[in-house]
Point group: C2
Chain length 165, copies 2
DNA sequence: GTTATTGCAAATGATTTGCACAAGG
DNA sequence: CCTTGTGCAAATCATTTGCAATAAC
């Protein structure tokens, strides 16, 4: 959790008149410890490693707080569980490409997409607030070489590649 | 349900070796009776009006069938329930703008967005399969006039405007 | 006749919530 | 102190599933 994030957390605490508590701080910290997306359960597991008495309820409650405060964004990766993205503070308008072969998620930015979005939205009589572009794609490497490092890694870690329980 | 949709349904039935049943046909028919998005529960209600003995289970099962067969797409409108969009057969690459003031959803197409998506995706080493762009926006009419017909209508129908149970 | 399909009710699973106790300011 | 925050367990609620009965082909 860098200074910029720290500042946003502090501001959130202040603005909402919240109290500083150990469990909540542990969740804040863990959420921004890496730039990876995570589910509530994954974050819970991570928090528990250093803070064994934190409850799921607190994790969920703090997640809701961060989303409402604009620190975190919920993104739709086609999973049944909600996925949280901690990278919007650094890259406020980034998009996601999801590989349906290996499940890898690549973030990318492109100001042209935004410009067009703004234009279209304005033409329709609205004012764009935020946007999410998700591209589902297949892996060229896999198609041409018959193999892709991410797919191999995903299989090794037992990662579930397609949606639904 | 027009001929084109009918043909796709027939093809799905044939390709999967499914049987023609009354409950299932009722769901197919109702799903494409209008070009509006719907939730499973809404579709269930609509189906029940003409086919009072159809069960929720069949509605869910048929929805899954249509999604898998590419007739319907699940879209993320920020609701807790899954929303289904029957318009991808006619407009395979359309996008959604969601007004956070009144909840109205506007569909739009723009080939420039697609072109850029293709380019970016290719550059990243993937091949785009499908994409979803969701723009969350505020209503200019509401901001300047202090009122917007959709918001009034939404309030009248008791439509829930923001997410979560 | 077989096999797919259905409706029902029970199961599932992520998320939320009520409540009594603990901790922050 | 006086609230806000917490953990726990129970509640929710959309969706899925097992199963015996029913309908396709």
């Amino acid at each position: 959790m860098n200074e910029a994030v720290q500042a946003r957390v502090d501001e959130l605490i202040r603005r909402k008149g919240l109290r500083r508590t150990k469990p909540r701080d542990a969740v804040f910290k863990e959420a921004f410890a890496r730039d990876e997306h995570f589910t509530a359960e994954e974050l819970y597991d991570r928090v528990r490693r250093t803070n064994a008495d934190t409850s799921r309820a607190t994790v969920y409650r703090t997640l809701a707080l961060m989303v409402e405060g604009g620190l975190l964004r919920e993104i739709d990766l086609g999973e049944d569980q909600t996925t949280y993205d901690p990278n919007f503070l650094n890259k406020p308008a980034h998009n996601h490409l999801v590989c349906i072969d290996c499940g890898r998620v690549v973030e990318f930015e492109d100001e042209r997409v935004e410009a067009i979005n703004e234009e279209v939205t304005h033409k329709l009589g609205f004012k764009a607030l935020r946007q999410t572009l998700k591209i589902e794609a297949t892996c060229e490497q896999l198609r041409t070489n018959g193999r892709c490092p991410n797919l191999i890694a995903a299989r090794l870690t037992g990662k579930r590649l397609r949606r639904k329980r």
